[in-house]
Amino acid sequence: MSELPPEDDPEMQAAQPSRTPGPNIQVNAEGKRDDEWSQCLQVIAQERDRAAFGRLFKHFAPLVKAFAMSGSPLAASHADELVQEVMLKVWQKADGYNPRKAAASTWIYTIARNCRTDMYRRLQKFDTPLAAEDIWVEQEEEEPFVAVQQRRNAARVREMLTQLPQEQAQILAKVYMEGKSHSEVAEDLQLPLGTVKSRVRLAMQKLQIMTDQR
């Protein structure tokens, strides 16, 4: 099975040799680190364990705050409020966390993204009947086989992300952490929109996401 169509782009070729070193090792290494927080979340859900929550808070609250502060200045000025909101949601929704579906950090990241989006809309006085949770609907349970495959893909995406050229990683960071649209990123970096789009596409190819889409 061929992984990627042949590409003339030198960046792509440079990335090729590094991409197949034992995917199992990556999964295990990644899985182990994640398991600690997965287990912690499950203890919080089942035993309503405040000490476990405290540990989780110490690790994730500073990340949530950093995420809040990288967003729009409007949301950044409410960073502490966002941290409280996100961590409280983590406590309240912990029993909905399913370790087979997502890594702990993915689950917490999506809550932070939802809260930041809702907060931004609230601060701008959007009058909307929808919350972020209505739009990013949690998906139904996948077949166990698919779930395993997805965990493996997640580990691969994480691994490959660290190997992206800086100019691509920088754009993805602006999109995901700063919450900017592609045109805003283009404006920020004084690049043509087409360049931003094509760098994102190159990054997607390397991460093997949407390889068959425009």
Binding site: G54, F57, K58, A61, P62, L63, K65, A66, F67, M69, S70, A79, D80, V83, Q84, M87, L88, W91, Q92, S105, T106, I108, Y109, R113, T117, R121, F126, D127, T128, P129, L130, D134, I135, V137, E138, Q139, E140, Q150, N153, A154, V157, R158, L161, L172, V175, Y176, M177, G179, S181, H182, E184, K197, V200, R201, M204, L207, I209, M210, Q213, R214
Partner: protein, 219 residues
């Protein structure tokens, strides 16, 4: 089977939360029908989580933990989170039902011509029009142009235009310069979601008088 998907930019902006609300709804409804894009969005979220995980941690005051601990026993606000409903069921996606506050027949449809009716739905997005288009079997949407982009998602039936055939769940994006004449299949009515970032303009002059978006613009 879904064969037309959102492009890389749209899915990335959707997954990261930077896509405007009305457009995000259209993508979310596409995901309801499309397992392929659902998996892509999942992968993109894993990517986002990886970046989140490697952020430089910001200093959090201890008082914040105390304050959160004090609120742990507060009753969680009631949420009615929509679950992804079964694609095979006859019902429209939960998200659309919620915006409609009921079903298709409960909406206020404006009649544009014999073949086309439009119902505008409120998403709260101040910069985008979100509407349902009901095209009678065999009928067409008049030739039109628009500023900005137009996103279309097929909810029921199918339609075709100069470039292809679109079935339930198919997603397409048209830019301002594209002029097209979507025509519903002869066998069934077609209902689509249309998201516009500027009021639509129909070519023949007489439609302008009937165009609900132009009235909205004036109000």
């Amino acid at each position: 089977m879904v064969t037309h998907h959102p492009d890389t930019r749209l899915l990335n902006e959707f997954a990261s939360g930077s896509l405007p609300l009305a457009q995000s709804v259209a993508i979310s409804v596409h995901l309801h029908f499309c397992d392929h894009c659902k998996r892509q969005v999942k992968a993109l979220q894993d990517m986002g989580a990886q970046m989140f995980d490697t952020l430089e941690p910001a200093e959090v005051d201890d008082s914040l933990l105390d304050s959160v601990l004090n609120h742990l026993d507060d009753e969680a606000p009631l949420t009615y989170q929509s679950k992804a409903s079964d694609v095979d069921s006859d019902e429209s996606p939960v998200l659309v039902q919620r915006l409609m506050n009921g079903d298709y027949q409960d909406l206020q449809w404006s009649r544009i011509n014999k073949a086309l009716q439009i119902a505008r739905l409120r998403t709260g997005d101040p910069k985008h029009e979100f509407a349902l288009y009901h095209i009678k079997a065999g009928g067409s949407i008049p030739l039109h142009t628009h500023k900005g982009t137009e996103l279309t998602l097929v909810l029921e039936g199918s339609f075709s235009d100069e470039e292809g055939v679109y079935q339930q769940g198919d997603f397409l994006m048209r830019d301002a310069e594209d002029q097209h004449t979507p025509t519903a299949s002869k066998t069934a009515d077609c209902i689509c979601i249309g998201v516009l970032d500027a009021p639509i303009r129909f070519k023949p002059w007489n439609y302008r008088l009937l165009n609900p978006f132009l009235q909205l613009q004036a109000s």
